[in-house]
Every structure is written in structure tokens, then in C-alpha cells.
């Protein structure tokens, strides 16, 4: 068995877990990560015990359906896809629809345009390695517009099946498995767990820098410095991974903060990996998303011409929420042209990203404009999604902070709440007895008894002795209200039981 396949995380298996909780019969053992703190057999015993208990007592669950907010999955939580996007995709998939009067004219024209760019006029053919050239160009124009006119060059952009695929490919180029000491990558705590998986699976070491929870999860340069120093003699840090807006913590970096990070990367000679998937999810007043690329360029020389940067985006989040289509891109800045050639070869062996996903990227980069027949509906749908998210983050903040032993800073951006749990010693003790992390214990109970599927904080990393849960805030308002109702009710009972 390959020794690099390690990892100690709550496995990415939403359906699997809620099926177990919601049904009375335990179909198969929970797939448990072989972690530093958890003991495989013990968790199985716990889940089996719960299931048996329910079976024996004929216990009925107080809920009909599990609310699954474990992942940043808008559609999974009940949000609707954008009509324009789906109409265009349908017409691309089944071209006779282009002649259908049931579809708006701009949809049909757009589909025709997209098909015209596909080899052989079919979404079933492979595209060029980096993506359909006109779509790559479209993305570069989108980036340029977003960044106030700063040019973006198509040759520096690669489309891939989801952004994590690009992140993996770039990490693969950076990580020298044979090197000693091992390659290190600075990561925030808390961090998106899948990227951590990518890093460790490639044989690199993570170097955590702690975001400051007291200051709304702010990134402090002194902490970056401390983290870098801690790596001395342990590994060779080559890259700095930042997530802005954050995941799981819902911060949006100020421009000053972005500048500080860039300066730090320049001083310490680190490759910058900027995960900007949530750039369309900004709610905080006085908050604004400013891209790393733009900031880097505006800082001028020596930074603008030297800091090596990879920025990532995708169709999975924002207003499209098209996680299942698997399409993302990376824009590479200031990379060595010789290295770029190898990056191209690396992407080429993956053949290409799914064409429907690529088309969705194009629609994201180039949505309907005022005057287009689809514009009014498009605008309405975008505004609705935005209103729901703004409302939800406010409600979540209100409700969580009204509960004892539960606190949450304002969610400025991103798609998650990452509230802090103040667990009692009794609860912590019980968790230990079961061989579980305290927040895993809380989440398991919340799933079993409350029917809400959330992620435990330890999964994403947190300061020792603190506990959190993560859940997606992109759900229809009625679902969110139900979620908050169940969460409140469960939380009160839990706190009482372990007081």
C-alpha cells in the first residue's frame, strides 16, 4: 500500500452518513478516518449502539428528513440553479432545442455560439488542453473587468474539473517528494480540508498559521512569521495558501491584509496559492473582495513582476452553485515559462475539463446583460440568492449568539458559519470516553437527534482546546429557519444534559 495516502478527516460522505442516522438499520460500518485522535472500532461501536437503541425502543426520529449542510452545496441545500444557465446547457446538449420557440432568443443564440466553439459542433468532443480557447479568452476578459482593467493573459489560464484539480496540479509541480527536508505549504487554521488532503497526499507537510478568532478571523503577518519559523528544521516551506473569502471561517480580507500577505510572500520567497472561490459571496458592510492578482499588480515593482501567484475560481459557489458540473480555473502569474511548459503537459494528460462545465464557466464570466431577453429573470434570480444569503448570515449570527455556550462573529463572506462551541467538561469527558473529538461528538449527536448534518471543527483545524462546527448558510430561508430551530432545540438539550 502506498504510504502517502494518509489523512485523518471526517470522510467526504454526506449521503452515507445521513442515511445511517435517518434509518433504523445500520447498513455498513461508518468509514472512519484513521486519525490521530480517533479510534476506528470505537466510533463504529457508538454508531451501532445508537442504531440498536433506536431499533429496540422503536424510537422514531423527531424529523422526517436530514438537513444536509455539511458541504458548500447550494443546490443540495435546496437553492435553485440559474434558469439562463440551465436553458443554455440544455440547448447545447440537445441542439434541436435551438429551434424551439419555448426558449428565449438569447438562450438559443448563446447555445449556438457555444456549440460553434466545440469541435465538431458537439459538447461530446474533447476540448483543447487548457479549455475551449474562446472560453479561456472569455475568462481572461472577466478577470480583466473584475480587476479594473489589469490585463489577464489567456495563456496563463487553465480550466480543470473543479478548482481542486488545478490546486492539485499546481501543488504537484511545487512538491518535490524526493527532497529532504520535505516540501512545506503554509495553510490557515481553520482551513478547507480537501486542500489539506491534496497537500498531504502529495507527500508535502502542512505548516499551519492560526487566524485570529478574536479579531474576526483576521490574518496576522506576525503569525505568518511565527509559522514560518516553526518550520525551520522541519520542512522546506515553498508556498503560502490563502483562502479569501474564507472557508470555513467567514472573513473577507481587507486590501491592506492582502497587501501584507503579498509583501510577506515576496520577502520570504513563497509561492502564493490564492483560493478565491467565494469572491461572489460578500455580505459584510464595508467589505469588498479585492483579488490577489489586482492587488499584486497595483503594488507595482518589485512585487508585481516577481511574486509567483496562482489564483483559483470555479462555478461551484457564488450564484451558479454548479458543484456537480466540475469546472474551475487557475490563473498563473509570474511563472517561469519553462515551468509553464511542464504545467501544460501535466494538464494535457488529464485530456480536458467537462465541456458542460466549461460552458457554465463562460456563462458565469459573461452573463446576460441589460437589454437581453433573459436579463430580467437572471437579475431577479441573482438578487433573490443574494437576499437569501444576506438574510441567512444575519439570522445565523442572531440565533447562535443568543444561545449559551455558542458564539459566532459576523459572517462577512463565504458560504459557511463556523461558530464556536463552549463545551462543558462533562461533554468533553463523554467524548473522550467514546474516543471522539468533542466537536465530532457534538456533530454526531446533532445528526442523530437533531437531523442536521454539519462538520466538526477539528476537521478544518482550530486552536487546541477550542471547538467549532461548520455548516453551509446557503439554503432557502424556510430550510434555514428549520435548521436554526432544530439546532437551538438540540443545543439547549445538549448543554443541559452535560451541565
Amino acid at each position: 500500500m502506498s504510504s502517502n495516502v494518509l489523512v485523518s478527516y471526517w470522510v467526504h460522505e454526506p449521503r452515507h452518513l445521513y442515511d445511517q442516522a435517518a434509518s433504523k438499520v445500520l447498513s455498513q460500518p461508518l468509514v472512519v478516518p484513521s486519525g490521530t485522535h480517533e479510534n476506528d472500532p470505537q466510533v463504529r461501536v457508538l454508531v451501532q449502539a445508537c442504531a440498536q437503541q433506536s431499533q429496540q425502543q422503536g424510537v422514531r426520529k423527531p424529523y422526517k428528513e436530514v438537513i444536509d449542510v455539511f458541504q458548500g452545496d447550494l443546490h443540495g441545500a435546496g437553492m435553485k440553479p440559474l434558469t439562463f444557465v440551465r436553458q443554455v446547457l440544455a440547448a447545447c446538449v440537445y441542439p434541436p432545442l435551438i429551434n424551439s420557440n419555448n426558449l428565449p432568443l438569447d438562450v438559443r443564440q448563446r447555445a449556438q455560439e457555444e456549440l460553434g466553439r466545440c469541435v465538431g459542433g458537439s459538447v461530446g468532443s474533447y476540448s483543447a488542453v487548457a479549455g475551449i480557447p474562446e472560453i479561456v479568452h472569455s475568462i481572461s476578459e472577466f478577470i480583466k473587468r473584475r480587476d479594473g482593467g489589469i490585463p489577464s493573459h489567456p495563456e496563463n489560464i487553465y480550466i480543470s474539473p473543479g478548482s481542486q484539480w488545478s490546486i492539485s496540479n499546481i501543488l504537484n509541480v511545487l512538491v518535490n517528494r524526493e527532497a529532504s527536508p520535505r516540501t512545506g505549504v503554509l495553510i490557515p487554521v481553520p482551513c478547507y480540508n480537501i486542500t489539506v488532503l491534496s497537500i498531504t497526499q502529495l507527500g508535502a507537510v502542512t505548516v499551519p498559521y492560526y487566524l485570529s478568532e478574536e479579531q474576526g478571523w483576521a490574518l496576522q503577518v506576525e503569525e505568518l512569521q511565527r509559522a514560518l519559523e516553526s518550520a525551520k528544521g522541519v520542512c522546506n516551506p515553498v508556498a503560502l495558501y490563502v483562502i479569501n473569502p474564507g472557508n470555513p471561517a467567514g472573513y473577507v480580507q481587507s486590501q491592506k491584509s492582502v497587501q501584507e500577505v503579498i509583501r510577506f510572500a515576496w520577502e520570504k520567497r513563497l509561492f502564493l496559492l490564492a483560493d478565491e472561490l467565494y469572491q461572489d459571496c460578500v455580505y459584510g458592510e464595508n467589505c469588498e473582495f479585492v483579488s490577489y492578482k489586482r492587488t499584486l499588480s497595483e503594488m507595482g515593482p518589485p512585487f508585481s513582476g516577481t511574486v509567483e501567484l496562482a489564483s483559483f475560481h470555479s462555478v461551484s459557489k457564488g450564484f451558479l452553485g454548479e458543484c456537480g458540473l466540475r469546472a474551475g480555473y487557475v490563473e498563473l502569474v509570474n511563472l517561469d515559462p519553462a515551468v509553464m511548459k511542464h504545467i501544460h503537459t501535466l494538464f494535457s494528460k488529464d485530456t480536458c475539463a467537462p465541456v458542460l462545465g466549461q460552458i457554465a464557466l463562460d456563462l458565469m464570466s459573461n452573463p446576460p446583460k441589460p437589454g437581453d431577453p433573459s436579463y430580467p429573470l437572471y437579475k431577479q434570480e441573482i438578487e433573490h440568492i443574494r437576499a437569501v444569503l444576506v438574510h441567512n448570515v444575519k439570522r445565523v449570527h442572531e440565533v447562535i449568539n443568543s444561545l449559551p455556550g455558542f458564539s459566532c462573529p459576523p459572517i462577512e463572506g463565504g458560504l459557511f458559519a463556523f461558530p464556536r462551541l463552549n463545551l462543558t467538561p462533562k461533554a468533553i469527558q463523554k467524548a473522550k470516553e467514546l474516543g471522539l473529538q468533542p466537536d465530532t461528538f457534538y456533530c454526531t449527536r446533532l445528526l442523530e437527534e437533531g437531523g442536521v448534518f454539519t462538520g466538526p471543527g477539528w476537521e478544518y483545524g482550530q486552536k487546541e482546546g477550542t471547538y467549532h462546527i461548520r455548516f453551509c448558510i446557503a439554503a432557502p430561508q424556510d430550510v434555514m429557519e428549520e435548521l436554526l430551530r432544530r439546532l437551538s432545540s438540540f443545543h439547549m438539550t445538549f448543554m443541559k444534559d452535560f451541565s
Binding site: S2, V5, V7, V11, H12, E13, V31, Q71, D73, H75, G76, A77, K80, R86, A90, A91, V93, Y94, S100, V119, G120, S122, G124, S125, A128, P151, H153, G162, V173, N176, R177, I194, Q201, V238, F271, P302, S304, G305, T306, L320, G321, E322, C323, G324, L325, R326, N334, D336, V339, M340, H342, T345, L346, S348, K349, D350, T351, C352, P354, L356
Partner: protein
């Protein structure tokens, strides 16, 4: 920022350089999309700009992309996928009832009833169940467990994932992986990337590219000197060679794998592409189980399939799966972790796979059209396979084995010594020189045999048999004329 600034000025030394980057990535090559294709794309640009050439279009016969060459998608599949993409169409009477039923079933299995939601990393459960049923039916009732099926982003993704699971060790203990020469260069690329040891076993060109156990044994024994051989990869039907393994051969390979304790990787993406008389696709799993429990309970195996080839040709959807046999449960747990880094396979590709394994049945409205389309594609391919072999064998200096299956021909070309010398002068491998010339003179893009591997001193090219029959005839004719000209020029 200027283009130069965007690409950086190296006055200070970059973090990521040829020296500091992952040395394995430097070793990765992928000929199917390699330098010759890059030149072809350049030529296409020039044509668009109005540059005069002895041809008006570049024919890209380098890549196994059927739709790119004009093959039509299967109507039923596209109807269901359109319904899945935009469910409001379920109200549209122009769509047949069986398509609507399929779409509804798929949507119900998706989070929020949307193909835009994540699925589990292993793939939507009811689709895996359908895949298992398809495999059972195909293999004469031998059971298939949906838990052993992992949907993927095309078969390539699954192939790389399984290899990741298998490659480990250092130095002399580094995993060795046996691959056929010639091979589909995804394998060599993946092995280079993973730093695994590539163990070449040669297919027998003089015997229709057949596989010899003696040759397998030779390669394995030689490899044991410097690595730890653990895996044996087979592509059946073959790519680029097109050979369809006989049942006996498959049994022999399984026997060999058992004796030598090797993990079998069976790439079966061309399983519906079988043309030659007397040839039949036998799945490795079926043969394994028919050999009895001594084999079926012990030999560890992974079989791969995809939606990119066969009669569907839906490369752009990136649909595929792997079925694992006799994998240790703890290893399976690790496999789940590996696939979770991808989050999930593209849902439209999963949906398409569901339709491929669950096509219209005789009692359904779409059946007649479906069968007509499927038969048309496969019979056209069979005809083109025959035509290609026939025409190439009339050219002095080109010998072509029968194209028994898959989508390619891999003929052997005899090159005059002067041409070989000229190639050396230019720093090119002889068959690359040949193919570049063909590209420049006739606008036909093929992949040189060196990209797939071949016996020392032999030269080949790989051409797809996918262009429409009329165009294919023209292409074959042009290659014939080119070859004669080329031979003449360097005589």
C-alpha cells in the same frame, strides 16, 4: 502589466524553477497532445489568418475523439441529459416518455434534484447499482457489487487513482508497473508522475500484436533486478494496436498474474469496438470468475470503462468507472480518501454513464431509433477499420495489422536510411520527422509511434479511423501519396 511582467522577469530567482520543481513532473510526456498537435493548432491559426497552404484544413487524426470527426451523438442520451439539465422540459411533449422517466429517476437521486449538486465521491448510488447490473448482464450473471464500483472523471482519472494506491517503496523496492509496448501514453505519463518504475513488455507485431506470456515473464524477471513489480496493465481491445485478446490469452494472463502475485489493471474502454470476424470481447472479470474460486477469490483486479469511446463517443462528458475485485477492505477505505480529493465525478457524466448501462429496452419507444443509431456507428467503424487495413497494405513501405477493435491503426513504416539521418540532424525522432512532414505538406495530424513505444529500429504512426468514410478515403490516399513521395525524396 505587460506580457513579460505577467510572466515575470527573473532578476531575483523564482521560487518555482526547473531545478526546484517536482522532478517527476519534468519526466511526464503525453504524445497524443504533444508537440505535433501543438504545431497542428498553430497551422490551423495560420489557415484562419489566410496563410496559403497546400490544404484548406488540418485533419486531426491524432486523438480518439469521434464527435470531433463528425460522429453524431445518440439522440436518446442527449434528450435525457437535456431534461436533466433543464427539468422544465419535462413538460415538453416533444420528448419521449422513456427519456422523461430516465431523467426523473436520475434527478431524484441528485441532491436538491439538481445535476449541479455534489454527489458522493464514489458516485451516485443508484447509478452504481445500474453499472453493477450492466456488468452482471454482460458477464453472464457473475455478481457485481455496487460497493466495488467507483465512478470517475473519465477512465483516465480512475486509472491514475488506482496507480496512486499501488505505487510505493523506495529504491529497489519501488513499485514496478508492467505496461504493453506500444501503449496508450497516459500510463507512461502517470508512471513518470508517480515516480513508479515502468516495465515494458512487447506485443508481437508479427502476430497481430498478440500478447506472449513468455515475453511477460522475460520482462518481469528482468525487472525484479531493480524494482518491485506489483502491477500488470492490459488494454483490451488495444490502444494503439487494436488487437482483441482471445479468451485463452486472457486466461493465460490471469494465470500469470496469480503465479507472480501481480495486481491486474484491465483497461476495457473499447469493449464495444470489436470488428474483426472471429474476435470477441471477453471481460477480464468474466474470465477470472469462470476460472473458478482459486482465481476469483484471490486475484486482485481493477477493470475500467468510460463513456468516451464505443458507440457513444462522448469524450467531453468525462464519464467513467472502475470496478475493483478482491481489494482489501482497508485499502478500499484508503481509495475513498483518494477519490474524495476530487470531491465527486461530473454529474452529467455520471448521468450519461447511467444511460449507457441502462439503454432503451425493446419495449420502450426510443428503442428502435437507439438501435439504429448504435448499429450505424459501429458498422461504420467496422467498415473504416477494414478499409484502412486494406489501403495501407497496398502501399509499399507500409504494413498494417488488421484493426480488430478500438479506434486506431498503428501501421509500421519503413523509412529510408537517408530520412533517418536527416531526422537525426534535425534532432528529431525519425517517425516524428515523418509525421511533421505529413502535417506540413498535407495537413494531416497523426501521432508518431515513438509516442506510444515500439521496438528499437522500428517506426510507426497512430491514426484514428474516425473521419467519415469519404474523408477517410481521401486521408488514406493522401498518406499513400505522401509516403511514396517521402520514400522517393530520401532514396
Amino acid at each position: 502589466m505587460s506580457q513579460q511582467a505577467v510572466n515575470g522577469v527573473a532578476h531575483r530567482g523564482r521560487v518555482l524553477t526547473l531545478d526546484s520543481m517536482n522532478p517527476n513532473v519534468k519526466r511526464v510526456e503525453y504524445a497524443v497532445r504533444g508537440p505535433i498537435v501543438q504545431r497542428a493548432v498553430q497551422i490551423e491559426k495560420e489557415l484562419k489568418e489566410g496563410v496559403k497552404k497546400p490544404f484548406t484544413e488540418v485533419i486531426k487524426a491524432n486523438i480518439g475523439d469521434a464527435h470531433a470527426m463528425g460522429q453524431k451523438p445518440i439522440t436518446f442520451f442527449r434528450q435525457v441529459l437535456a431534461l436533466c439539465s433543464y427539468p422544465a422540459l419535462l413538460e415538453d411533449s416533444k420528448f419521449p416518455e422513456d427519456a422523461k422517466k430516465r431523467a426523473q429517476r436520475i434527478l431524484e437521486a441528485c441532491g436538491g434534484h439538481s445535476i449541479g449538486a455534489y454527489s458522493t465521491s464514489q458516485g451516485i448510488e443508484c447509478i452504481r447499482q445500474d453499472v453493477a447490473r450492466y456488468i452482471e448482464k454482460r458477464d453472464g450473471g457473475i455478481p457485481s457489487n455496487p460497493d466495488n464500483i467507483y465512478l470517475s472523471t473519465g477512465a483516465s482519472d480512475a486509472i491514475v487513482t488506482i496507480l496512486k494506491l499501488l505505487v510505493c517503496g523506495e529504491g529497489r523496492d519501488r513499485t514496478g508497473v508492467m505496461i504493453s509496448i506500444p501503449q496508450y501514453p497516459l500510463y507512461s505519463a502517470a508512471l513518470a508522475d508517480l515516480g513508479a518504475v515502468q516495465i515494458n513488455y512487447y506485443l508481437d507485431e508479427d502476430n497481430c500484436w498478440s500478447l506472449n506470456i513468455t515475453e511477460l515473464r522475460r520482462a518481469l524477471n528482468a525487472a525484479r533486478e531493480h524494482c518491485n513489480p506489483r502491477v500488470l496493465c492490459i488494454i483490451n481491445p488495444g490502444n494503439p494496436t487494436g488487437q482483441v485478446q482471445s479468451r485463452q490469452c486472457i486466461e493465460d494472463v490471469i494465470q500469470f498474474a496469480k503465479e507472480e502475485h501481480l495486481f491486474l489493471m484491465a483497461d476495457e474502454v473499447y469493449q464495444d469496438n470489436v470488428y474483426a470476424e472471429g474476435c470477441q470481447f471477453h471481460s477480464f472479470k468474466k474470465v477470472l470468475f469462470e476460472m473458478g474460486p482459486e482465481y476469483s477469490n484471490t486475484v486482485e483486479m481493477a477493470s475500467f470503462h468510460s463513456t468516451s469511446k464505443c458507440y457513444m463517443g462522448e469524450c467531453g462528458f468525462r464519464g467513467g468507472y472502475v470496478e475493483v475485485i478482491n481489494l482489501d477492505p482497508e485499502v478500499k477505505a484508503q481509495l475513498i480518501k483518494l477519490v474524495s480529493v476530487r470531491l465527486c465525478p461530473p454529474v452529467p457524466g455520471q448521468a450519461l454513464l447511467d444511460l449507457v448501462v441502462n439503454p432503451p429496452q425493446p419495449d420502450e419507444p426510443s428503442y428502435a431509433t437507439f438501435m439504429k443509431e448504435r448499429t450505424a456507428v459501429l458498422s461504420a467503424l467496422a467498415e473504416k477499420a477494414r478499409l484502412t487495413e486494406q489501403i495501407f497494405n497496398t502501399v509499399p513501405g507500409i504494413t498494417c495489422n488488421p484493426v480488430q477493435g478500438a479506434m486506431y491503426t498503428f501501421p509500421r513504416i519503413t523509412l529510408p536510411q537517408k530520412a533517418i539521418d536527416k531526422a537525426k540532424e534535425l534532432g528529431l525522432v525519425p517517425d516524428m520527422f515523418y509525421c511533421m512532414r505529413l502535417l506540413e505538406e498535407d495537413g494531416i495530424c497523426l501521432v508518431p509511434g515513438s509516442g506510444f513505444g515500439q521496438r528499437e529500429g522500428t517506426y510507426h504512426f497512430r491514426m484514428t479511423i474516425l473521419p467519415p468514410t469519404d474523408k477517410l478515403k481521401v486521408v488514406l490516399q493522401k498518406i499513400r501519396e505522401f509516403h511514396l513521395r517521402f520514400t522517393q525524396e530520401f532514396s
